[in-house]
Assembly symmetry: C2
Homo-oligomer: 424 residues x 2
């Protein structure tokens, strides 16, 4: 059923690839204006989605993801402005050289092509993904959650009006709005029609896409992330970092799920962590970390609200996305790195240390998109990194890794200029 | 059956990722020495393969691909030397910046991981692919054709001895030598064990790999390439380029398969082409190109050895890899570009022109890894481009495009250095 959409997107992309930065930015600025003008209609459409979601018993946390209000629409519009201000990722000369025979070769960045994004119920993703794609010269097929259908229809209609009135190419964006699962299957098998599929959502969606896709996929988001405190860590600073990485937004993929602590500092550090997180975060402990916390708690006459549980093997492999933190004591930096490389999802990993060689070894050996020394891993994010919006955070090594901004939507082309050269 | 090999390759890769350039180059130089010392044994093993291939009735052209001799072994060894001289693709800082809170972010190149290559009977690919992977810090699983089994065993044994004696990591290279098809199936489903599979061979192999792989794939090699002569083309130079692109190595993926000629120059250009290629290349013509050649031939009293056939729709989509050239007359640059984007395989495409805007438009609108103006497309090649050896020529847009050298075997990692930063 999507075949005519695919054809339209491909044709629109060929035209958009030739647009210059002024034309693309002008069209995006026009979209900012129509979104502003269409605020009331967008909020009305969103209210229908929210009402339907409430009636179907959706959890409050998920309804909050779905909900739009004036402040959020303002943020969405400001997000476009940040992308407009970014350099054009297309038409950069990455390298150029001349062969002995005079042939001149340049490596240029060009748009990747047609992008499809399959995502959950956050309506802001609709606009973020569209504006990154448009700026990168890519057409985009948006396949949002059916829970956000009315919101997405209103947003995409407003975007298309903005492109139309801003001299842009409205056909470069399309919403797959049948609400059926078959859309997803069609996207996943659209070889030659879609250049990349980006699933953005829970683990099950991503696994399903990776398993069934016959088009290139960028895996995103699954984050079983760790913080490791080595014997030289600044413990007061460490407590602030662990708290921030766990509590500031536990449902984010870059939240910490397991704290690893070197045995040499476990007795000092873990009581500080338990005291700071008590009443907010359940701690799932290995026997040694539990013993350290229990001893300190007893010495303090108890930490009110502290919940300690025993960690099992399964905990090391779990992305809780919740107010739960697994804790394990290790005997060496080596053991910490091996734990992370075994259980991690190649997302964001941090060491707390003042030992230069420990930091260097951690950075070199931990296989993750982002390796941190002495900072909260919550910074792994396109906006935080300065990319404007983000399409998601790639946890794969292929094509794009880490927070994906405009660059992830480009590929290269060799331009070869001659004066009659033939090969000997 | 390959599981223990996968585990060994992963472990070796983790160690190789930490090796510095001197260590990697030293190990590769040592491999050059053992290959030199093992010449006689390698040639004996190759003679067994060739004898078996002859007995089984393999075609001469394919036997020539399989055959090693002293000159070819020398070329293989020199190929390693070129890779040794290349810069280390790992550990480059591509970008670095500081956030307003002082967090310092660097984007570094790191090895892609474990690579698997599935290829046909050319034994030089065994060494080329190994040395590129090793220099890029990747381990590699080689799955060559069973026709080259003895040659590959001798080469890999020599490589491993060289790595051993040169202080390298012999476990970073392995040959899947059971000769069974199941090896291929296992490689294609080795998620989490193999970071990329590169099929290098005929269309059928590549299609099969793309269809069944659940690991990332880089498609290579299929080249239905075009040369287009516009009304302003230098026709004498054009004939040299067409001849070179067709005849110098017709079995190469970067050979020309279809010549497109603007109607304004068809009557002048096509007789020159027919005269130059007669007796060597069969011409499959559209009605207008046939008429132009027939008329010129009659005026010349015939071109001896000229073979003209009628082209069908199928010809436009065929990669002949043979002494056959399809020819079509078009009425505009637009029609030429549309023909190429419809039938081409995104490999190498050329325009012959002296019109600047025609050249620019062709370069911008033709969707191919390499777009040429006024040169033979036979230059699309890692060695010609100056990359040393090549892993193949990517015809996809994802991760790597065009001739693949060391850079195609790297990915990135963000290194984030802080002093206690937490997210507000």
């Amino acid at each position: 059923m999507l075949d005519s959409l695919f054809a339209e997107l491909k044709k629109a992309q060929a035209a958009l690839a030739l647009a210059n930065r002024s034309q693309k930015d002008g069209a995006l600025r026009s979209v900012m204006k129509t979104l502003e003008a269409d605020r009331a209609a967008i909020l009305r459409a969103n209210a229908l989605d929210v009402e339907r979601a409430r009636a179907s018993g959706m959890k409050d946390a998920l309804i909050d993801r779905l909900l739009l209000n004036d402040k959020r629409i303002t943020e969405i519009i400001q997000g476009i402005d940040v992308v407009v201000r970014q350099d054009d990722p297309v038409g950069r000369v990455e390298a150029g050289w001349t062969l002995p025979n005079g042939l001149f070769i340049e490596r240029l960045t060009v748009p990747l092509g047609t992008v499809a994004i399959i995502y959950e119920s956050r309506p802001n993703v609709t606009v973020d993904a569209f504006c990154l794609a448009y700026k990168a010269g890519c057409s985009i097929l948006l396949r949002g959650s059916s829970a956000a259908l009315e919101s997405n229809r209103a947003l995409v209609a407003s975007i298309k009006r903005g492109l139309e009135s801003g001299g842009g190419i409205p056909e470069a964006v399309a919403l797959a709005d049948s609400g059926s699962r078959e859309d997803v299957d069609e996207i996943l098998s659209a070889r030659g029609k879609v250049d990349v599929v980006i699933p953005r959502g829970g683990r099950d969606l991503i696994r399903r896409v990776v398993d069934f896709a016959r088009v290139p996929v960028i895996e995103t988001g699954e984050g079983n992330c760790h913080i490791y405190a080595d014997p030289t860590a600044d413990l007061q600073r460490g407590v602030d970092i662990v708290e921030n990485a766990k509590v500031q937004k536990p449902g984010a993929c870059n939240a910490v799920e397991t704290l690893l602590v070197h045995a040499a500092v476990a007795d000092q550090f873990l009581p500080l962590v338990a005291d700071r997180l008590k009443g907010r975060v359940t701690l799932r402990c290995c026997p040694r970390s539990k013993a350290a916390i229990v001893a300190a708690s007893a010495a303090h006459g108890g930490y009110p609200g502290l919940v300690l549980q025993d960690a099992t093997e399964e905990d090391w492999a779990t992305e809780y996305l919740d107010y739960i933190l697994a804790i394990r004591v290790v005997d060496s930096n080596d053991e910490a790195i091996e734990h992370i490389n075994r259980y991690g999802t190649k997302h964001s990993e941090a060491i707390l240390t003042n030992d230069l060689s420990a930091s260097r070894e951690f950075e070199a050996r931990v296989d993750a998109s982002c390796v941190y020394t002495n900072a909260s891993i919550r910074f792994t994010d396109g906006a935080q990194f300065g990319f404007g919006a983000e399409l998601g955070i790639s946890t794969q090594k292929f094509h794009a890794r880490g927070p994906m901004g405009l660059q992830a939507l480009t590929t290269i082309k060799y331009r070869v200029s001659g004066s009659g050269q033939i090969r000997e």
